[in-house]
């Protein structure tokens, strides 16, 4: 049984909509059942997703309201005032839901920590720059590079095997040939009839209620009969649950608008036809959202429907973003999800301590792009550091090049903030670490990277 019960009361009614970047006030009430030592009554503002996707969370600011002793029978209230984050917005859909929340927790030594949470609604007031995610474009570039390298390797192997044994063509060549066949059907065949089709929208970054215009231009090589030329304007939630072989992608289309640019017709060879595009976003359109495992996507799919022939299609993504005036950076809460860029002092060795580095990384841990930039900035720097050992690794992973010959790796964490670390221990320090068990270690180490899978800073230790 918990030694105390927590509840949170917000100053405003439950249906009040808070402005992003504003302030939320309330009280944490503690009903104490038994005498209890409190190592910290913490309250924080943040957000979390719920629905079919893996849970994504973020927090903005955390404050400690009380530390000390409570006596059984006491009822105490602690007022708080916290900044409201300005992204992502509140959203309630079919597979994806996002709620901002105030979480409270009592740290009790040697016991379960009582917790309480209350959701609230947030309307963004930030400008589009706060909401744009570059992750998708980076991912696209990565996939393109991967496919390119894969095809290069395969082509080399294919030619080698063909020279060795033509029969091996059947084994080695069948799957890539199927892939190429699919690509030909989708891209080359429509192009063979239609030539180069251009399709552009005047803007791909829009706000709810905006009108989008553009033009589709086609100059076919031959006379082509088409069933229709259409645009499918669509918004969908895309949520991923599980990982690896248990990974499932849940998609839900919640808005769809079919726009017919042209009915059945014949496009004449060599004659350029221009089709103006114009459509409007609903005034209550939810914003585009890009969170880990949870996305809200707006896209337009142009289609030229050719009878008895593969259709020409092209998808153009739209970014639906808030139109509010950008917040004054100086008025922002210090610990926002986007944070600030890596301070220039990080670039020069000797000007920053490991504690400062850990603080920057800790505050950026919810923001992959910012985290990557920070890790890049400190990689190669040597620090005097203090770490609390967690456990030794029985196996460090095939992809881990940092292990010392004859050495091993341990998981550890920094003190405050508790930034998770991987320490690569050289053979010379092996005995020292064996005797340490799970105690504190102080010494010198060089940052060598970031373990994405386990969200840990990688450090190679130096012998004294």
């Amino acid at each position: 049984m918990a030694k105390c019960d927590l509840s949170i009361v917000l100053e405003k009614d439950a249906d009040f909509i808070y402005d992003g970047g504003g302030t939320i006030r309330g009280k944490v009430r503690v009903d104490v059942d038994q005498n209890v030592k409190c190592n910290g009554l913490e309250v924080e503002s943040g957000w979390k997703t719920h629905g079919r996707g893996n849970v994504a969370t973020g927090n903005f600011t955390s404050v400690t309201l009380f530390e000390g002793e409570w006596v059984g029978g006491q009822v105490v209230e602690y007022p708080f005032e916290l900044p409201v984050g300005d992204w992502p917005p509140s959203y309630h859909g079919h597979y994806l839901n996002i709620d901002h929340c105030i979480d409270a927790r009592v740290k009790i030594p040697w016991g379960f920590d009582p917790k309480a949470s209350v959701p609230f609604l947030m309307r963004p007031t930030c400008g589009p720059e706060a909401a744009v995610s570059e992750k998708s474009t980076k991912a696209g570039a990565f996939v393109a590079t991967f496919v390119g390298v894969f095809m290069l390797i395969w082509c080399s192997g294919f030619l080698f095997f063909m020279a060795q044994n033509p029969l091996s063509l059947v084994c080695v060549g069948i799957f890539p040939l199927l892939f190429l066949g699919g690509y030909a059907v989708k891209v080359w065949l429509p192009k063979y009839l239609l030539g180069e089709v251009t399709c552009e929208l005047s803007q791909t970054v829009v706000t709810p209620g905006d009108s989008v215009s553009g033009e589709l231009v086609v100059r076919p090589r031959k006379n082509v009969n088409v069933n229709a030329i259409t645009i499918d304007f669509q918004a969908r939630e895309v949520c991923v649950s599980g990982s690896g072989s248990n990974k499932t992608t849940h998609k839900h289309v919640f808005f769809e608008q079919a726009i017919e640019l042209e009915k059945a017709t014949t496009l004449q060879a060599g004659q350029e036809r221009r089709f103006p595009i114009s459509f409007a976003l609903p005034s209550d359109a939810p914003y585009s959202i890009e969170l880990p495992s949870n996305r809200l996507v707006w896209a337009t799919t142009m289609r030229i429907d050719i009878p008895r022939w593969p259709d020409w299609t092209k998808e153009i993504a739209l970014q639906v973003l808030p139109s509010g005036e950008p917040l004054d950076p100086s008025a922002r809460p210090q610990a926002t999800l986007r944070g600030t860029d890596a301070p220039s002092s990080l670039a020069s060795e000797g000007e920053i301590t490991f504690a400062e580095t850990a603080n920057y990384l800790w505050s950026a841990r919810e923001n992959p792009d910012q985290l990557e930039a920070l890790v890049d900035a400190v990689t190669g720097l040597s620090f005097r550091l203090e770490a609390f050992i967690e456990r030794r690794l029985l196996y460090a992973g095939t992809e881990d090049p940092h292990l010392f010959k004859g050495g091993y790796a341990v998981w550890a964490h920094f003190g405050e903030p508790p930034l998770p670390l991987v320490l690569y221990v050289p053979q010379e320090l092996g005995d020292e670490f064996e005797q340490l068990g799970r105690d504190r270690w102080i010494g010198q180490g060089t940052v060598v990277g970031w373990d994405r899978r386990h969200q840990r800073l990688q450090i190679k230790l130096e012998t004294r």
Binding site: D13, A14, D15, F16, I17, H50, G51, R52, G53, N54, V55, P89, S90, Y91, H92, G93, H94, N97, D99, S117, P119, F120, L121, R123, S241, S243, G244, S245, N246, V253, F254, F255, E256, Q257, A258, I259, E260, L261, P276, S278, F279, D284, P286, E390, R391, R392, L393, L394, Y395, A396, G397, T398, E399, D400, A409, W411, V422, D451, R453, H454
Partner: protein, 238 residues
């Protein structure tokens, strides 16, 4: 230019609706979320309906191993997470299908999910250490374990996933989604029996179905219905 907008649109979340507390979709039945969505690992462990003591008894001492064998959605990972929470010194690792085997930290016990994916070399190295093991696997690894000197207890999952388990795990999820003081909906034993007759021991399938049922009642009122005679969409007739 003709256009046809669809009508399947979410209610804008920022509109305050008369009678709906805070614009939250399930505030009408005192829930802050759909209880049958994805949970965090910690919450899954916390809400698991598992006899942890029985499983824990199988990993007492050195060279003791427990194997959990079963199809997808039968509760292997949930049991693993419950054990992870139970043992303060345990370590848990999930082996991804499409990634190379990652770091495996020592633990007492060491819990390995999807253990059939352990590369042979790594498996021998781990088994040679002699730590107590809990393996969730699709393939029986008894031979390799016994060869390394382990005592093995094997559980074939699925048979125990009856209506009572469905009832308890569903109601725990509902309770964990409570918005405030007062009553929350409850799955009845009759509903649980109907779900088991439809889905058998597939807990994940039951949770997926219940998610859609609850989702269909967002911004509703009255009484939450978990099992309908006629299901919207993919047609379930009970």
């Amino acid at each position: 230019m003709n256009s046809t907008p669809s009508v399947d649109r979410p209610i804008p979340p920022l509109e305050s609706r008369h009678g709906h507390r805070g614009g939250l979709p399930w505030a009408w039945c005192n829930l802050w979320r759909n209880p049958f969505g994805e949970l965090t690992r910690e919450e899954r462990a916390e809400l698991a309906v598992v006899d942890v003591a029985e499983l824990a008894a199988g990993v007492q001492g050195e060279k003791a191993a427990v194997q959990l064998i079963g199809d997808c959605g039968r509760g292997k990972t949930t049991r693993m997470l419950a054990l992870w929470r139970h043992f303060p010194d345990a370590s848990y690792v999930y082996l991804d299908e499409d990634l190379p085997c990652g770091a495996i930290a020592e633990g007492n016990p060491l819990l390995i999910d999807e253990a059939q994916r352990l590369p042979r070399k790594v498996m021998h190295r781990i088994f040679a250490v002699g730590l107590p093991l809990v393996l969730a696997t699709h393939r029986d690894l008894t031979r390799a374990l016994k060869k390394a000197g382990y005592r093995v207890t094997t559980y074939h999952l699925g048979d125990t996933n009856d209506a009572r388990l469905v009832l308890e795990s569903a109601n725990r999820r509902i309770e964990a989604s409570r918005l405030g003081p007062g009553s929350v909906p409850n799955l009845s034993l009759q509903d649980a029996n109907e779900l088991v007759s439809r889905f058998g021991s597939d807990i994940r399938g039951i949770e997926g179905y219940l998610y859609e049922q609850v989702q269909n009642q967002a911004y509703s009122d009255g009484e939450m219905r978990f099992v309908d005679c006629v299901r919207k969409g993919r047609g379930l007739y009970l």
